[in-house]
Subunit: 389 residues, 2 copies
Amino acid sequence: MRRHRSNLGTLLQHVHVSGPLSRAALAERMGVNRSTILALTAELAGAGLVREEAPTGTTGAGRPSFVVRPESERFFVLAFDVAVDRLVAARVGLGGPILDRRSVARSRVGADLDTVVRELAAMGRELLDAAPPGAVVAGVGASYCGMIRPGDGMVRYGPEMGWVDQAFGTELERALGIGLPVAVGNEAHLGALAEFARGAGVGHPDLIYLHGDVGVGGGILVGGKLLGGEGGYGCEVGHMLVNPVGGRPCLCGSAGCLEAETGEHAILAAAGRPELFGRDAVRQVVCDAEAGQLRAAGAMAEIGDWLGIGVANLINLFNPGVVIFGGMLREVYAVAAPEVAARIAQHAMPVSRERTELRLSGLRDDATLLGAADRGFGALLADPLVSLK
Amino acid sequence: MRRHRSNLGTLLQHVHVSGPLSRAALAERMGVNRSTILALTAELAGAGLVREEAPTGTTGAGRPSFVVRPESERFFVLAFDVAVDRLVAARVGLGGPILDRRSVARSRVGADLDTVVRELAAMGRELLDAAPPGAVVAGVGASYCGMIRPGDGMVRYGPEMGWVDQAFGTELERALGIGLPVAVGNEAHLGALAEFARGAGVGHPDLIYLHGDVGVGGGILVGGKLLGGEGGYGCEVGHMLVNPVGGRPCLCGSAGCLEAETGEHAILAAAGRPELFGRDAVRQVVCDAEAGQLRAAGAMAEIGDWLGIGVANLINLFNPGVVIFGGMLREVYAVAAPEVAARIAQHAMPVSRERTELRLSGLRDDATLLGAADRGFGALLADPLVSLK
């Protein structure tokens, strides 16, 4: 019985991550026979979680296999993304489609817990009101740009917003008031998991995802699992010291951290535009560098140099299959790739880097949001029928 | 049947790692009842792997529980340790006691594969000849100061000895000629596993072991498992860049690596003794620093500073429960602890370091050797009765 329930979740997880799959493909992936798949899909279809469709077209020999498709319009989660510069809320369907979304620039709202939670809850309620009749909210997930305590979603440390020990998860749950807990994760951790599930990291269980927001964060998968450590606070890539002598000051109180040398402030300062801020200003530096403007090109080379040192260190430590550049770093890497490659060649051991690929985020600006959605789907996917009761 | 065989191995693993255990303790650890333990120990005792002894003394209420003890004199492995400056071979009994050992300074033999393998095989045969009649060699393990390909024990890269792609594992197996494969591991990886099993890291599945030989290596456990990465080459802590501007040259071709700034050459150069080499010379610097000799104390402070930067970075990345200083770094840390602590306070995030303990190696100079022995015991512990056939 427990096996059966766990199989229901596994099947639903497969169609959630991979989209519509034939019964034959499911049987092969799960290592069970087709009659088991038939029973499982019947049960999930009965609960309205999937539907089965006759295959379109014939594929030659053999009996065509029915296709199992997640009911994306019917089951959804609320996903929130708290970045330094903006708040995003979305309704994400089973299977991963973003069905509806709201966002607001954070400069328009305050940075304190109450304001942020109130704004997120309002957006969440708007999304719920706009959902079609009969649609079911199966969970809530949130991504935050700071260190998160596993279990209750307490923000232990979020220097960009000045948060220390703020009860974000429980407060957002209370403000939403729909009787569902909020599963919170660090933005880069969630981005790493999302890229592994359905982005540039599919098939790479040893994966490093670097996320540029205003700061720089990292999510590291070891053997397909998020590197947690003793308390769940591993992966603080942004505060790896890369420039110990005369490094730029960091919000954490140290100086020369990877974040201090490659984050938004560093890029704009290096480009001689310290009075500016925001993604558009960073994008302009990248554009100007690509267009050959000397100061901007020099800034990107400098940033790429420090980024490359950080990546080389990570390659030596983790021997990853893939390193993915996401968020703002996606655009930075696109122009700073030569410096990154040079530092890797100089500092990463040849054996450590021989199979490492460098890639741009496949999910682009939605990586963290989709990671938050997957957290929200956690309970449903662990035990589909029980969680609906 | 498979469950039963796996339980046999699990029980043997418990007494191998923890030493003599009562049947009651085994039942509790394994989550099985005492009649199962009785059947398992009877079978293992029949094969001569353990013996049962009546408990000495009474412990108050209840029936006293028989004690299960590994037959350490009867079953042993050959364990080899190839360090930069010496070769060690030992006969290590089931349960971990070092029963006999030979060693030779590597300066007395060459550094090439053939010479090293010939010397090790000769020591191994000597140990076998000296073993008591009826004693059974159950496996062979070896520790090497370089990057090891999982599976066949190929040394991919061992800069201190100038080895690139040397078939160490298979050559040592051939030279020994006793029909047993040689399980090879990197010295710091094996040290980490040994400290976790029976040293300063017991109970800490998120563990970092730093090993100082002539170079500096690291072994990192994540959730109790060695961090492997895509190809098994993770944990190259020694080549993490800590001093990017004007760092000391490293044997790997880069400069400013943790190894270049904290290894033997760095210590002796910083102490103004660049013409010296070897552990005794390093120990003299440590002693002189402890005695207040200014140049030596300054050298140790400088080394501690770089070591602290490396450790701070590792704490940010891994949120470890414990960081263990082993090999030569055990002695270095004992005197450089203030600088290490200062750098951690400055650069490691408070949340990341709040539960991290810093410790000296519990197994001292035998950590790597005992790790190699455990590799050698791998087959026996995985399937005790089959591996004896």
